[in-house]
Subunit: 423 residues, 2 copies
């Protein structure tokens, strides 16, 4: 049996009871003959409490000090977990991100992992210890400062360590049973996915599914580390994310992996752009210079009568104001008519590698929305994803309709083999 990396989130180690429950599960893996490396997040709301404290002493806390502060959270949970494991009669040692060899760039609050040099972790597990590593943190390569990895940082730590240690699997423990075909809070009949490919998982993650972040899946794909997302409260199998199904996992990939939705974006439309080379470039250069990340971009053919076209894109609501301000400055240079800003939108995405070879998916998707009375405002597609923008009010109904139309509801007997009428 090989090495296993397990990652437990803040809700799994929220209190002493939770920590003891996690300790038991870790020890179980060790007893089953695995070498075990555990990555932990900060306990429950610790990080939020530290952020509140920081804001009490300074309205704009500095990046370096903010990171120093936040990393105290994982330090507490990892030391407590190591103690709880020792209390069960097994040896455990905790390591900070720096001690674990998680080397990052110097961008505080959202550092990227540059390298992982897990020599101390390797020695520790080779000596028979369970190694506990602080998630979400590393040390900068140049200045040797403490850094944090930003959102999803602990998952990324776990995957990066799994890659560096050549682990069999990276188990991500969370408070849900795995990845579902849609958000179970919206679609009661949503089904747990047993296996999903890296590619489909990446599309789901960037389309609004929150179980795994894009960044962590991307890392796992690059180093081909299977991820097993599962509940820390039940003993059930969760969702495997990997290149190929393993063991008794379904050999044939479903046509459609799932339906994701996202209500965190807004839509900007630049109305009446002269349809000539360089105008779109000017617009998106202005957006990029203001450091706004955009998602979907749609431009339709121009009206022959006017020679003007409209360009629409979506972006996180929080960045709306910045983007609009940047665009206003280019109005004279680009010569567009007006700007429209709309934050009452939702994005609904259908993801599945099967759609590449199965005609009719798009049609069925649009039919389902139409039958549900949902109007489509923008459309964008990739090889394995179709996304539409609708009114925010329609999102739940739209997701349910699409989920049912593609036979993803739990009642259906079987993962459907879909036959349609041309995409």
């Amino acid at each position: 049996m090989g090495l296993v990396v397990q990652k437990y989130g803040g809700s799994s180690v929220a209190d002493a009871e939770g920590i003891k429950r996690v300790a038991k599960r870790v020890v179980e893996a060790k007893k089953n003959g695995h070498q075990v490396v555990v990555v932990v997040s900060a306990m429950g709301d610790t990080t939020d409490e530290l952020i509140d404290l920081a804001q009490e002493v300074s309205p704009i806390p500095s990046g370096r000090e903010f990171d120093m502060l936040l990393t105290a959270g994982e330090r507490i949970s990892m030391a407590l977990l190591a103690m709880a494991i020792k209390n069960l009669g097994h040896e455990a040692q905790s390591f900070t991100g720096s001690q674990a060899g998680v080397i990052t760039d110097s961008v505080h609050n959202k550092a990227r992992i540059i390298d992982v040099t897990p020599g101390r972790i390797k020695s520790s597990v080779d000596e028979g210890n369970i190694a506990i590593v602080a998630g979400f943190q590393g040390v900068s390569q140049d200045k040797k400062d403490i850094t944090t990895l930003g959102r999803g940082g602990s998952d990324t730590t776990a995957v990066a360590l799994a890659a560096a240690l050549d682990a069999e699997v990276c188990e991500i423990y969370t408070d849900v049973d795995g990845v579902f075909t849609a958000d179970p809070r919206v679609v009661k009949k949503a089904r747990k996915i047993d296996w999903i490919s890296f590619e489909d998982m990446l599309e789901l993650a960037s389309s609004g599914s929150k179980v795994l972040l894009h960044r962590c899946v991307e890392y796992a794909r690059r180093y081909n580390i299977p991820i097993h997302v599962r509940s820390s409260f039940s003993g059930l199998q969760g969702t495997w994310v990997s290149n190929e199904p393993q063991g008794d996992q379904p050999m044939e990939q479903a046509i459609i992996s799932g339906v994701a939705h996202d209500t965190s974006e807004a839509k900007v439309t630049v109305v009446g752009v002269p349809d000539k080379p360089g105008e779109a470039a000017r617009i998106f250069r202005a957006i990029a210079d203001s450091e706004v990340n955009i998602d979907m971009v749609v431009q339709n053919v121009s009206a022959a009568s006017t020679g003007l076209t409209d360009i629409s894109f979506t972006l996180p609501k929080a960045e709306g104001r910045k983007a609009v301000a940047a665009l206003e400055k280019t109005r004279a240079a680009v010569g567009f008519d007006s700007l429209r800003y709309d934050d009452q939108i939702a994005k609904i995405s259908l993801v599945g590698a099967g759609m590449k070879t199965n005609p009719g998916v798009t049609a069925t998707f649009f039919e389902a929305l139409s039958n549900a009375g949902v109007n489509i405002e923008l459309i964008s597609t990739s090889e394995i994803r179709i996304s539409v923008v609708t009114r925010a009010d329609d999102v739940n109904e739209a997701v349910r309709a699409v989920h049912t139309a593609f036979g993803l509801d739990t009642e259906s007997d079987e993962a459907v083999v879909y036959g349609g009428t041309g995409r």
Copy 2:
């Protein structure tokens, strides 16, 4: 102006308000033209809360993990302090014990500092930053594990950094105005000491004065770093501890620096020890082997008629049981009659380098106790200290009587020049 090390204890940084107040004081020193290095303890009760958490998950938390856990406390306070300072428009950087180059041995929970390599701190202050360092923690030389320094650890960190950085002074900020001629809670007329020598301060610390611990003063003496103990709540001058008085400090050392008392000890008497070579050695070897630290030791001449003597010693109450058990095992070998254990005692000590050259101090001391009706049970003296053991019930009265007898009460016009009748 040179470099100043300031140390703030947990009560000074107990909440956001406290941290902001400390930030102002730190910035003041910087504005006065000093390079400033600040050592902080954990906020208020943080350390106790972490200890409670540890005991919830494990009855006997391991040393290594316990240290990892506890060091989270300073990490929080130092990052917050750095933020608060930046908010006042000054540059600050926080450093863990490890980053600050505090190298220790591997004895977890009470590590000793082996070396300080403050390269990063030096660069930081040379670049114009205020450097904030986590007190109480270091990194072990051999295993590179996080260690904590035990009681008084933050004070020791401050003094050690001051020595390594060749600081002008190490300022220890606390919640009292300085070192007093006696415990102000017992002696209302106790006087703040303006200056005291390292030697006298060492004797006071080991005689029960709690403002500075022996360990930190010892370190300061070895490297000749002046300590300034003062309040973080007032702007007053506190007590200077150094080799020689400085500036407008009194040039002549008072004969008596102060009266200390200690009610944390117990007394063990080994009754009827054969008065022949090797018996005392056997007794104290047994005590040492059980890792009990003893304080005063007194042996009187044996009674000529029996050839038997009694040996008494004092030790921390908490170690009484262990010492008695160790002695019981040697009863046959040593051949003593019986053991007496008494934990209702107090130790009262008079400290002052002046007593070496001023006859009559001992007589005045004993007269004062006698006039107060206090019986003396044991006596032990050093060059600059006289200690007696009395009943615990008598301690307050005894301390007050001695304090008055040596003219230490605030009403007296002047630090007395004492003339007695032979010591």
